[in-house]
Symmetry: C2
Subunit: 427 residues, 2 copies
């Protein structure tokens, strides 16, 4: 470990901690002024941002990045304007800080108020998309948190250019420029140092693939809020309305298969499988050119074979896989109990749905399925901060502590107890 | 690492996970039946519990445990009855599970309810006091969580006897006996295995000294809720009513110095220091035989010397120390700003208080001091679940994520989103 680097990272975190104390009591007006200045300076800097991004793209091409990764890395006029627009949308959201969550008057006269306050210093560890730099900085700033950004090395020039704009915008609103800082090196040792600074950093949010998230979780002694993956289930109950199930399943699987809230797993009750499965399979096949690959257990395979519909055999691994592709694992279950047990064993506890006209079955499924979001007669694709009405989201938590499911500005906050007395002492 | 032991610990955690799914939907009645049965069986087992405890005490004496540790370890008739009474008090508390925290009707007709649910499986890692076994098991059971208990090796026989009573009580209420399990070995390797089972265990709560808590934090990839220490400040402002400050400071420092919410640090505004410090020092000296050792900065030392009052010189270390003793570090500050900056630099962010008649100063202190509980004109000793009206507490969190400050039954819960639709798909 390079000692100079460790010192640099610690100083950066100390500056973030100091800035967080000022940001915690910054007015909504000051935070919004900084955000509006940021949106304006982003739009005024499009050529410079595209030039910085070109360096990253050149390096990425030399390093042999895939076309998909290069696309994620690319900033163009429209994407840059979208970033600025995203910042303006955060300006329009209510400030979560200071909300009184509870108030208690104790028999001894103490007034205890539980007030929402920023978490403090948040480190965001992310991969190649440079827009995460702006999204996260803006959400953390609005919620009064200081932010340490550690982006992927592929986007280093883009992120550096964006971070400079953020610092300028903060200063223009008389907020500390160190309230948002980019780690100024792509050295992996910097990340390792950062993840141990639990006196200075209060929360780490990794955003990226599962390998990144596991690395952060295993190497951090700071609390982590994370999203592992979405292995989401659609369960078609014996009492399902198949006319509802068809478009719902198609939406959950096909509309955006790369999303974490897309369905990966289908369970069908045995009592209706012979009728339901061929209808559902035909709906999926006709939903797009190329259809959807159905990886089936023996019961569902037999039904689809009898109906002359294409399918393949599932492996045990398929039943717990996040395909992020036009692939669906399919099983037949004997009962609601088996459906619930299967979901609780194999899902990632992200988003699962039951399709049924039987309210009692739905209520049992919703109560007993141990997932962040449990739907009755709706697509799993709704698990999203915007769809939930949060206005924006920093991510979707598959954790149970602090925040679970979509996380908006309120979930970037903690609370404190503010207590007024008249000289009370404890008896 | 002993493979058999690792298998045993994993099986125990798997059983806890399975039990947690049943407990999450257990009725309040069933949970209360188990708790009442537990209180009764504890009272019916006093001789057996004292006999088991005697084995621990014998081993402790042989191992040379201090008198204080042996006292913490001791179970007697009155302490055992107190344990049972504590369980009955938890029966009387409202069940936190199922509370609707928020409800949103979306424009597309989706009804999104945010419901309080148990966290899942909680591991409690604790040291020698056997009553923690019953307190934690009862709180976790009432809040619907399965519990894995890992007590200190000094209390192993006592804890084993108590855990057997809990299993019997659970079974008598038709709840899974594996809902509360004690790790059946004192081997340190078992703890290391446990702390890595993040697929099965959702939360770790270490209760004990700072070394234990640091070990757990550094070795766990499971989210930890913890309480490090309480370095609590009393700030006597220039506008303080000294007749209020005297008993308040005495209470905060002297009433129970071993408590985490006892004051360790005194700051006095320079404008009133020459008058206030001698009065406060005399009040502390006369509060008990032996008085309170005042470890002073040069300004406060000069004032006390002039008044002929005893004191010693503080070291830099004293200003951040949790003495847990009749010792108080004392400093003079030039301003409210300096008081706030000093607290934010040196306190443990647990509980700090300002004594002042100036409401504007109080509000600034409460807003800017970054601690879990910030008092105006009240003793820091009130930071406690019972004093806050929570009815019971599992501990006091010095973390910012999930729970901060005193934690009761609600803080042992997470939430889930339960969403009702009529076939909605995402556009």
């Amino acid at each position: 470990m390079d000692t100079d680097l460790a010192v640099t990272i610690r100083q950066l975190a100390e500056a973030a901690r100091a800035a967080s104390l000022r940001l915690a009591v910054a007015s909504t007006q000051a935070k919004n002024r900084a955000l509006l200045a940021l949106a304006e300076t982003i739009e005024a800097s499009i050529p410079a941002l595209i030039a910085a991004n070109a360096k990253d793209l050149d390096a990425g091409r030399s390093a042999g990045l895939s076309a998909a990764l290069l696309d994620r890395l690319t900033l163009n006029d429209s994407r840059i304007r979208q970033m600025a627009q995203g910042v303006r949308e955060i300006v329009a959201l209510p400030d979560p800080v200071g909300t009184e969550l509870e108030r208690t008057l104790r028999p001894n006269g103490l007034v205890i108020r539980k007030l929402r306050v920023p978490i403090g210093v948040i480190a965001i560890i992310y991969e190649s998309r440079p827009n995460v730099t702006i999204d996260c900085a803006a959400l953390c700033l609005k919620s009064g948190n200081a932010t340490i950004l550690r982006g992927g090395k592929e986007a280093f020039h883009s992120n550096t250019a964006l971070a400079a704009l953020i610092a300028t915008a903060l200063a223009s609103a008389d907020l500390p420029a160190t309230a948002v800082q980019l780690v100024p090196t792509t050295d992996r040792a910097a990340l390792n140092t950062l993840l141990k600074l639990n006196e200075l950093i209060h929360c780490v949010i990794p955003r990226g693939g599962e390998a990144l998230i596991r690395f952060v979780t295993e190497n951090s002694s700071i609390p982590v809020i994370k999203h592992y993956k979405g292995v989401c289930f659609v369960y078609v109950d014996r009492a399902a309305d198949l006319a509802m199930a068809e478009p719902l399943l198609v939406n959950a699987k096909v509309q955006r298969p790369s999303a974490c809230n897309a369905a990966e797993q289908l369970l069908v009750h045995r009592a209706v499988a012979a009728v339901a499965l061929p209808r559902l399979a035909r709906a999926l096949q006709s939903s797009r050119t190329g259809g959807v690959e159905l990886r089936c257990d023996s019961a569902s395979a037999a039904i689809l074979s009898a109906a002359g519909l294409p399918h393949t055999a599932a492996t045990a691994e398929d039943y717990r896989t996040e395909f992020l592709d036009y692939i669906l694992a399919v099983r037949v279950v004997d009962s609601l109990d088996e459906a619930i047990a299967t979901v609780n064993r194999d899902s990632s506890s992200h988003s699962d749905t039951i399709v049924t006209a039987d309210e009692a079955a739905a209520r049992r499924f919703q109560a007993e399925v141990d997932s962040a979001t449990v739907y009755w007669n709706a697509s799993t694709r709704f698990t999203d901060g915007f769809e939930f009405g949060l206005g924006a989201e920093i991510g979707i938590s598959t954790d149970r502590l602090h925040a679970r499911g979509p996380m908006g500005l309120a979930e970037l906050c903690s609370y404190k107890f503010v207590i007024d007395g008249t000289g009370q002492v404890r008896g």
